[in-house]
């Protein structure tokens, strides 16, 4: 026996949990808006019962819905509230049985075959603050699912014959094949009973295999296995020092103990750690947290200890260490043979350790693969730990620039030509001298829509009498900087 728990109008119900006063009013949530979609033509993603009573249906365009119901309130979707509500629904299901499937965002299916106690009263007693729960039971999970979604069949045990009066559109909740549904509608089928009377073989020959599966489902001939919901296992561990420690050795000793436990748990589950989350809690109350990505999933203590030890050597906590926390993100251990004729790093574990040592030497965010940003803002880029798919950017100058970071402020002799300054000579800085030739000005600006972040500048490429090639920048009102040199 299977039971399905369904939350009707799930997005609206979740959003209204934080606005209980609005529940009595007709409310709706709009579908996601594309860049060119006018808001008034967006379809309604979900509506509440008050809106349904006013004669509105989901999928109506907003302008039509407002004509029918001028008091309709459009509320924003609250994804965090939906996640919380879904988790509460799963928790309720797990209170009845351990075998729970998250069938859809608004529905869970329970396998009651192992339950011995009566379930009818328990199902009727289920409740969630701010949301209604509808339930139904059947011999197959899909029948229970269908029944829970319709008023005529919810709250009881249903058989295939009980589903006959339901509209044909109910199949949309278990299948995405809208083309087959549209064809059946063209044929004049209106209810599930009409569909169930059709011969299965002829249906498959004319429409395809999918309606054949629906046919078996409605007749209760197919009973699939549930995809059981299992919460992700946490590998988090903590170690509290009796007395706060100031040296490294006790921390490394405690870390080894935690890693031995972690390695055992990983081995028993045939998993490996792909990244480690490491946190030091100091006596002052502060915390030092780092995440270490391992080049290859590791299950051995030595492979996990080396990068952690390198990290510890680089840390300079300003207070004694009171506690230590370790968590791991897991994946399957890789067991692939390396390619002989493809290029790869010879020793990825050693490479990861070298990168960790470089980070310890230079600081975070100083080592990585540069990716030019898709922006006109000068010197915009990101550093990535590994190669990522880079956007198709093309340098606008054949000569690469050697940047000065930060740009060097200098004094420039210039004359005004029109509304723009015309540089004549650099008066100070690393390369003073007369400008013998120049290209520009090249105006550039960006982020004009952000009052605080808007920028505007004039750039020149200049050649000095000493033959040095430099990039000079002017920013209003009177700021000259050297951006870099073309070596």
């Amino acid at each position: 026996m299977f039971a399905a728990l369904h939350l009707p109008d799930f997005p609206v119900a979740a959003a209204l949990r934080s606005q209980p006063a609005a529940r009595d009013f007709p409310c709706a949530i709009l579908a996601v808006r594309g860049p060119r979609d006018p808001q008034e033509k967006l379809p309604l993603l979900s509506i509440n019962q008050a809106a349904r009573t006013a004669g509105i249906g989901p999928g109506w365009p907003l302008n039509r819905a407002l004509v029918r119901c001028p008091d309709l309130r459009v509320i924003p979707r609250d994804l965090a509230a939906e996640t919380a509500l879904r988790d509460e629904l799963v928790f309720l299901g797990e209170s009845l049985t351990a075998d729970v499937e998250m069938t859809a965002a608004d529905c869970v299916t329970l396998d009651l075959s192992c339950r011995t106690a009566p379930v009818c009263a328990a199902l009727d007693g289920l409740s969630l603050a701010g949301a209604e729960i509808h339930h139904a039971r059947a011999d197959t999970p899909d029948l229970a699912n269908l029944a829970a979604r319709h008023e005529a069949t919810r709250g009881r045990i249903v058989s295939p014959a009980d589903l006959a009066p339901l509209p044909l559109g109910a199949l949309g909740s278990i299948s995405l094949d809208s083309a087959a549904l549209a064809l059946l509608d063209l044929w004049g089928l209106r209810t599930l009973g009409d569909f169930m009377k059709l011969p299965r073989q002829a249906l498959v020959e004319r429409v395809g295999p999918e309606p054949g599966k629906w046919h078996d489902l409605l007749h209760g001939k197919s009973c699939r296995l549930l995809r059981l919901h299992r919460p992700p296992e946490s590998f988090a561990q903590a170690f509290d020092f009796e007395d706060a420690v100031v040296s490294l050795e006790p921390v490394v000793f405690a870390l080894k103990r935690l890693l031995h436990t972690l390695a055992g748990r990983l081995a028993s589950r045939h998993l490996a750690a792909s990244s480690l989350d490491f946190r030091l809690i100091l006596e002052s109350g502060c915390e030092l947290a780092r995440r270490i990505r391992l080049p290859e999933p590791q299950a051995a203590v030595e492979g996990m200890l080396a990068p952690l030890q390198t990290l510890l050597e680089s840390l300079r906590p300003d207070a004694a260490v009171a506690a230590l926390q370790l968590d791991a993100e897991t994946s399957f251990a890789t067991a692939a043979q390396r390619e002989w004729f493809g290029r790869h790093l010879p020793q990825p574990e050693r490479w990861a350790e070298t990168l960790a040592k470089l980070e310890a030497l230079l600081g975070p965010g100083r080592v990585g693969i540069p990716v030019p940003a898709e922006s006109f803002r000068p010197d915009s880029f990101t550093l990535h730990p590994a190669a990522v798919s880079a956007p198709p950017t093309y340098p606008d100058c054949p000569l690469p620039l050697h940047r000065f970071r930060p740009p060097r402020e200098i004094a420039v002799a210039y004359e005004s030509r029109g509304r723009q300054p015309w540089p004549m000579a650099l008066l100070n800085g690393p390369h003073p001298g007369e400008i013998t030739d120049r290209r520009g000005p090249f105006p550039a600006s960006g982020a004009w829509w952000e009052p605080a972040g808007a920028w505007q500048r004039l750039e020149w490429d200049v050649q000095l009498a000493s033959r040095h090639l430099l990039r000079l920048v002017f920013q209003t009102p009177d700021r000259w900087t050297l951006e870099g040199i073309y070596r």
């Binding site: 470089l358 540069p370 990522v388 620039l401 940047r403």
Partner: protein
């Protein structure tokens, strides 16, 4: 008779680890003229140095030549740039070219040397480019000469390539020193990069050693 693939593999191993095969490393010969932006222009297991012949010598073009203009993103870095003055500009290169590069941003000459030492010891990426052109001369002169000799021994052991870009001759134990010139001017901003790369000239300089 071994198959051709095995013979090729044996030759590659012999070239990379001559000491293991009882071979003496070949004396460094002057780099072929005109192609200083190919990795093969620099000897394996040695420190090479590139100094500009004057302003606009095209030192940054050499980096562009080493990275090339690949069509696809590289899964692993093929070249490490230890940037002594944090002067590298990713905007001057395509995203695919930047994917071939691991950029190590240093703030001081000492950090630059320590980072180079870590990377040469590691050996996973056999081409390390150390850019000291933006570092102040005073800071570079304060580096102990013994550090360069230790680096040379490490490079010889790992068999990689370490190329130092400097504004003046800096490395006392360099096996090869190239003087780079391209005679760049403002007119060259309108020329394609490939044409400018062809103009790069590298002339080997005589290295005087203490006797």
């Amino acid at each position: 008779m071994a198959s051709p693939a095995v013979e090729i593999l044996r030759q590659q191993l012999r070239d990379k680890f001559p000491q293991a095969h009882g071979l003496r490393p070949e004396p460094v010969s002057p780099a072929p003229q005109g192609k200083p932006f190919r990795a093969e222009a620099f000897p394996l297991g040695a420190i090479s140095e590139v100094v500009p012949a004057g302003p606009g010598a095209g030192v940054a073009l050499l980096v562009a030549g080493l990275l090339g203009e690949p069509a696809e993103t590289s899964p692993h870095p093929e070249l490490v740039l230890v940037d002594g003055a944090d002067a590298f500009d990713p905007g001057s290169f395509t995203g695919a070219a930047c994917s071939k590069l691991l950029w190590v941003r240093c703030d001081s000459a000492l950090d630059m040397l320590k980072a180079a030492d870590l990377l040469v010891h590691d050996g996973n990426v056999p081409f390390v480019l150390l850019d000291a052109t933006g570092v102040a001369r005073r800071d570079l002169n304060s580096l102990p000469a013994a550090a360069w000799w230790r680096l040379k021994q490490t490079v010889e052991r790992t068999g990689g390539r370490l190329v130092v870009l400097a504004a003046f001759p800096l490395v006392p134990c360099a096996s090869l020193r190239l003087s780079l010139s391209a005679g760049l001017s403002l007119e060259d901003f309108d020329r394609p990069r490939g044409e400018l790369l062809e103009r790069l000239q590298a002339v080997p300089e005589k290295i005087r050693r203490a006797t």
